[in-house]
């Protein structure tokens, strides 16, 4: 096991990793930016090191400073958390070149699965379903027509350089295809200075379901079931749950098996997540792999009873998984809500300032992961995630009820947060019925 781990992150995930290290009897070094100086969670670390200015690129994204901090404090491993450098292969490579273990997958696996295009190739090779599409830039109109016919309508045209909806066109009928293609190329050119577009099958009203993987460096790989993260606001997950209310037993088995197959093919170890879209007919399509721990990992911890961060650290230290697939028996239902410091009336602009009153909920089956407390500061420079409320109950209706109770109980003043929105979302009959899709929040609220 490692002697001392440097935690290259901040806020709730830094605290989460710190607690895991302490339970493994590993010393901790926390880094902080000048903006985070004095944060209470730093008090719990064995050492705390200022690494730079408030802006992420001056501190938490500065790989050399992080490695230097590990060197001067004698840390033999770095946990990157999520965000910042967690999926940066070069950083992982640099760490290991300096004899500091990067707690995550091998650089090879990160590159293979972390890159969308390469992951898609591996998926296809291993018969993991992907969204049918052009597999690259469309060259001419005739090719487009041929491919669209193969894919089947409706299709969606997307800008290769794009994101956020710009340059996208949904085409329901072949006769509209070429006109839409022209428009999409023009839009892509205007927005991204590139006319490159590709097409995919358009998945209407999909659910977002992902599979948690954990694997050691000795070839043992298991999945820990799925998380349903369909409840999103502008591609940001807001509510996650496990098991998915929309999967039947067989789809679940196939989905998890596909995720394992993909990771095995890439010789993946550490914790990772394989993300899928599931359509209204329970067909699933691989979209991407997150080669790190995720914000919503506690949902899986609650239903499986397995501490993902501790396990991730153990396998990084070369230990074998001490459980196999049969020993993973999820029970009950868990839901997580993300409480962001954002103003719903100001188009969810992050709110910053001092939290004067912070009263998290408690009780049976309730966990709150947060760095919050009376008097804590929320910085405008970083992710607005202030707290995660996770509940675990025997059944989904009970879990929903407990979450409602918790959201009612939670007091954060005076900052605006997503609490009021979440209260409405969790109380909505469509959420209870499990009949939502990824566009639910935009359509409904």
């Amino acid at each position: 096991m490692f002697r001392r781990i440097l935690i290259a992150n901040r806020g709730e995930i830094a605290l989460r990793i710190l607690r895991a290290c302490q339970e493994l009897n590993v010393e901790t070094v926390c880094v902080f930016s000048e903006e985070d100086r004095g944060a209470e969670y730093l008090r719990l670390a064995d050492k705390a090191v200022c690494i730079g200015g408030p802006a992420p690129r001056e501190s938490y994204l500065k790989s050399d400073r992080l490695i230097a901090a590990a060197e001067v404090t004698g840390a033999d491993a770095i946990h990157p958390g999520y965000g910042f450098l967690a999926e940066n292969g070069q950083f992982a490579e640099k760490c290991r070149a300096c004899n500091i273990e990067f707690i995550g997958p091998s650089v090879e696996a990160m590159k293979l699965l972390g890159d969308k295009a390469s992951a898609r190739v591996i998926a296809k090779k291993n018969k993991v379903p992907t969204v049918p599409g052009s597999d690259g830039v469309l060259e001419d109109d005739n090719e487009t027509i041929t491919i669209a016919d193969q894919i089947g309508f409706p299709v969606i045209i997307k800008a290769s350089a794009g994101g956020g909806g710009r340059g996208m066109r949904i085409v329901h009928d072949k006769t509209d295809l070429l006109a839409a293609l022209k428009q999409a190329k023009q839009e892509a050119d205007g927005a991204f200075n590139s006319r490159d577009v590709y097409i995919e099958r358009f998945i209407d009203r999909p659910r977002h379901v992902e599979v948690q993987i954990i694997a050691d460096q000795h070839g043992h790989i298991v999945h820990l079931g799925e998380r349903d993260c369909t409840l999103q606001r502008r591609y940001q997950k807001l509510v996650e749950e496990s098991p998915s209310p929309a999967l039947d037993h067989r789809t679940r088995e196939n989905l998890c098996a596909a995720a394992v197959k993909l990771c095995k093919a890439a010789k993946y170890y550490s914790a990772g997540t394989v993300e899928f879209l599931v359509d209204t007919k329970s067909r699933f399509y691989f979209i991407e792999v997150n080669t790190r721990i995720q914000v919503e990992h506690p949902v899986t911890e609650m239903v499986t009873g397995i501490d993902l961060i501790k396990t991730q650290i153990r396998v990084a230290a070369g230990e074998k998984l001490d459980f196999d697939q049969r020993a993973v028996r999820p029970h009950g239902h868990a839901i997580e809500c993300r409480i962001n410091a954002e103003d719903p009336n100001e188009r969810f602009r992050p709110c910053a300032g001092v939290v004067e009153k912070f009263r998290p909920p408690g009780g049976v089956g309730v966990r709150v992961d947060s760095y919050g407390h009376d008097g804590c500061r929320v910085s405008p420079r970083y992710d607005s995630l202030l707290a995660k409320v996770i509940v675990h109950q025997p059944t989904r209706p009970e879990a929903i009820r407990t979450m409602q109770r918790c959201l009612k109980e939670f007091v954060i003043e005076p900052l605006k947060t997503t609490l009021p929105l979440l209260r409405r979302v969790i109380a909505h009959p469509d959420f209870h019925d499990g009949t939502i899709d990824t566009g639910f929040i935009e359509r409904t609220f």
């Binding site: 008090r43 050492k47 090191v49 200022c50 690494i51 400073r65 490695i67 230097a68 060197e71 001067v72």
Partner: protein, 146 residues
């Protein structure tokens, strides 16, 4: 090991060499803001106001409204007072410094960076020991301006 030429080049490439000067307290208070060394408990990391005469008896004079400048570390690394173990230190208490005077080396990831005073005056105090680890923003020297 300490091939200074290489080091500067490397460190410049990484954009690491920069010196931040702490301005005097805007309220005109006699105190100098200092950060405590990295190894201290983080609860002690917040700046502490110290009256210069109380910090070190050797500080010359009893003038309380002197505005000291600090030379602070622009990086995380190990502090070296001299270019190599057999050489005298770059500066000592009482040494006059100008903006381009090299005051110490900082080593990180086997790269040594020369740190310049970036201010003019006389070294009043050296706040870290040779070979000590320093964090970003940590005060290394107190400079009494001319």
């Amino acid at each position: 090991m300490m091939v200074t030429n290489d080091l500067i080049e490397l460190s410049l490439r990484d954009g690491e060499v920069e010196v931040s000067l702490r301005r005097p307290n805007p309220k005109g208070h006699e105190a100098v803001m200092m950060t405590t060394p990295m190894m201290a408990h983080p609860a002690m990391h917040s700046p502490v106001a110290v009256s210069p005469p109380a910090v070190d008896g050797k500080l010359p004079g009893d003038v309380v409204d002197v505005e000291y400048h600090e030379i602070r570390s622009p990086m995380v690394g190990t502090f070296y007072a001299s270019p190599d173990p057999d050489s005298p230190p770059f500066v000592q208490v009482g040494s006059p410094v100008g903006p381009s005077t090299v005051v110490c080396l900082l080593e990180a990831m086997k790269v040594f960076s020369e740190i310049k005073a970036e201010t003019s005056g006389t070294i009043e105090r050296i706040l870290v020991r040779d070979g000590e680890a320093v964090e970003y923003g940590q005060a290394l020297f107190l400079v009494r301006p001319h």
